[in-house]
């Protein structure tokens, strides 16, 4: 049984949900595989209409969905209603991707032989929902939307943190799919850790998408790799998302930067894979460190998603606090409930920080930041090159200061190699749903750095090419 909890009280909320037995999981995959060809064979414009219908259905129940999700996650109805909108926006984005047609990557080399290439859907896809986005990275989230768009059936493994939200979302999605004429069985939902493992081991499964912790993701990736027929695993794991404040920016905008940092650090109780875990500030005293301390001290924490996440955060904070290189900088206000996180900022010098690698670059899921003072850009850049892969890297620069611009080039050169997204004068939280977006990054940020889980290119995870050689027009597949 999977029981949802109200993070504001730590008490059970709603009826528990049954774990899906192995035979139930396998039956869903078999059904999905049996209708995969029908779904893949529909014209892209028809699949686009179906996705749009799913989006409309979710929008029409946005308030109910957000209220239920708030009871299981305490993320707040405003944020959650917005997240339903982000989710339906994603579905509509992929409807647009289908109408555009570029995702098929059609190519033709005439001559002898005549070659015509097109992308085909890979087959049934497993989607592992995330704790911290009960809509946008869950049952009807970006993985589901992109895989359905590609022409793949989807079986979602619900996150234990919001079982009833997952069920209601799945009901809305299933109902809309059927009403819109999609074949029954192209979408399914399973509950429970064991069900997720059974799902990955089913021989008919073709690929898997995951957003979550490095530990969980790597365990699932191993299952995918050790199958008789291995399947690709697209895991978006943890990240510490370094932010560099250059000297000119620190002097010109200390207050703005400090409040922006505290806001990004504590947004959603810090429960974002794009949380700014590392802030690099100039050693020269320019008021920034003091402003950061003040901003974090003034920030409020909030209830974390689950007891497990909360205790993981407490352990990570204790580890940071006990690290010899690190000293406390600021403590914010405790949030409500038994699993409330208190915002924390710590401080270290660059050399001490570098000596503490890689421990000090481990993700601390929650509102805890490490502020590192660097003496000069040369020393900073050398250390940035040792951080490993990240989803995002940010630099704050005073564009009017020549020294900042030159330094920014050096920082961006490193982030251009080590981060999936490079942000100038902004914060890592907030990943826009847009055609050109890339939400990915080198290991250990993701298990598949060439791919993104947000934006139009997310559909590529579920496609493989096939080329037709000297194929008469009458025998070519639709799309060629």
């Amino acid at each position: 049984m999977i029981q949802g909890y109200d993070p504001r009280t730590g008490e059970p909320v709603g009826e528990p949900v049954l774990e899906t037995p192995a035979e139930g999981v396998d039956a869903l995959v078999e059904l999905a595989a049996s209708v995969a060809g029908e779904w893949a064979g529909l014209a892209p414009s028809v699949r686009a209409d179906v996705l749009a219908a799913v989006a409309d259905a979710l929008d029409s129940q946005a308030d109910e969905l957000a209220a239920l999700a708030d009871s299981e996650t305490a993320l707040g109805e405003v944020r959650l209603t917005g997240e339903v909108g982000r989710t339906t926006g994603q579905l509509r984005l992929f409807a647009g991707v289908l109408r555009d047609g570029g995702y098929l990557d059609v190519a033709h080399s005439p001559g002898e032989p005549d070659l015509r290439r097109i992308n085909r859907p890979v087959g049934p896809v497993a989607v592992f929902a995330a704790s911290n986005f009960p809509f946008a990275f869950s049952v009807a989230g970006g993985d589901t939307a992109s895989a359905l768009a590609a022409g793949c059936p989807v079986i979602v493994k619900a996150h234990e943190g919001h079982p009833r939200t997952s069920m209601l979302t799945a009901q809305v999605v299933s109902g809309a799919l059927v009403s819109a004429g999609a074949p029954a069985g192209i979408f399914g939902l399973v509950h429970g850790v064991d069900a997720g493992v059974t799902l990955l081991r089913n021989p008919l499964l073709a690929a898997a998408g995951f957003t979550g912790s490095a530990r969980g993701g790597l365990a699932l990736q191993r299952i995918c790799a050790e199958r008789e027929v291995p399947v690709p695993f697209f895991g978006e794991l943890g990240s510490v998302n370094p932010v560099v404040v250059l000297p000119g920016a620190a002097s010109a905008r200390a207050g703005t930067i400090a409040s922006g940092y505290a806001g990004s650090l504590t947004l959603g109780a810090g429960q974002f894979c794009t949380n700014p875990g590392l802030l690099f500030v100039p050693s020269q005293d320019n008021g920034l460190l003091e402003a950061v301390a003040a901003a974090v001290s003034a920030a409020a924490g909030g209830p974390m998603l689950s007891e497990r996440i909360h205790s993981g955060f407490e352990t990570a904070v204790a580890g940071l606090a006990g690290h010899p290189a690190v000293r406390p900088l600021a403590t914010g206000r405790r949030g409500e409930g038994p699993w409330a996180a208190t915002p924390r900022a710590f401080q270290a010098g660059l050399d001490d920080f570098a000596a503490g690698l890689p421990t000090l670059t481990e993700e601390r899921f929650g509102p805890a930041g490490l502020v590192i003072s660097y003496p000069d850009v040369g020393s900073l850049v050398a250390v940035l090159g040792r951080l490993g892969g990240n989803l995002a890297g940010c630099v704050h620069v005073d564009e009017a200061a020549a020294g900042d611009v030159a330094a920014a080039r050096r920082v961006l050169e490193v982030f251009g190699r080590t981060a999936g997204r490079v942000v100038v004068n902004g914060w890592p939280t907030g990943v826009a749903v847009a055609w050109a977006q890339h939400h990915g990054g080198p290991w250990p940020a993701t298990t598949a750095p060439a791919y993104t889980s947000v934006g139009a290119a997310a559909i590529r995870r579920w496609l493989v090419p096939v080329v037709y050689q000297d194929c008469p027009p009458a025998l070519l597949p639709p799309g060629l």
Copy 2:
């Protein structure tokens, strides 16, 4: 020491070559990594000119290269001179890919935030050369050409079967790179199995490409996966490339099909990953089986590349001959030398073949084919769906016969899901170097079914995206 052998005599040929010690391998990777930024930072048109210069240099020594390769592989100077041309054609194709610019996959989503995405090179690449293509899939082959084009330094692990050809090729490539102004160190060559392992374990290595056996490829893939920072491994492994002859085609063109089959089966002593290992013919007696037997009986074998490959082929043939489902159909003429392969064809009924899966679908590297008689297209299609992934699947169809066209659709539907390349009225051997080519396929044909090792898209293996958010024009990388 790595000794080359003349396959026509089994005797050593030329001086042995030293294995590269571990420190030598690591030094090459470190040097490559140190100049990776310089190579990546050159304008694509400059890298294109460099690739064209390498192609010119190889062409100018084509005769010498082919003669040396013939002494180590016995593939024949005509074939080998042609293969040098294929190799330089590949280098020029990627020069064209660079001038085209589409490989950068630039995308722009204006608005708030402003997002600009571009592909960047992944970093130093290891290339594992193949035995059976001493040029086109070796030192200066498609993996090297595509990785250099992408902006990645390349370290090639030479194949033990042609050490001196590898060295001469590397000398020509290195000389041309330096003359054309490429940074010293972006290309290196190592010898020996241990050197290959050291190469894959070097922390600075970013990706690897491989063409060869499933056994070797899977071992190397495991090394890539078990690194502290895993790197992608693009392995093109074995394949049996099923060919289906439909009843109409069998009746109309038995002789042509039989001679085409024998030619494809015995080309290069059958030493192609695209060898037609399985031929499906209608059970109805129409002369095809007899014609196939006659054509294979008339075909000559040839010296295989190495003692190891020859003994592997003999073992595989003995296994096939001893399988209870299989009976001999034809034996060709033995080739020259101690490692000569004799063309062989075997026969089985569809039900017996299906009962012998997956053993009977294992690759038999060499000129040995299994001819399976099928009673009807429905039974055939059910079995085709159980073959696993292949590089190619072929169907011979009489387009004037309605029954053939309908049957071809069913066969193509299966191949469209299970093969990387679908050929109509042709043979799987011969992979054209063309923009639209896809030389890949589902597991176990490759370890990365979304990618190709031939054609313009091969460059994608060595690229990862990065997106710039709200980045001022002055700080954007070249290409944006």
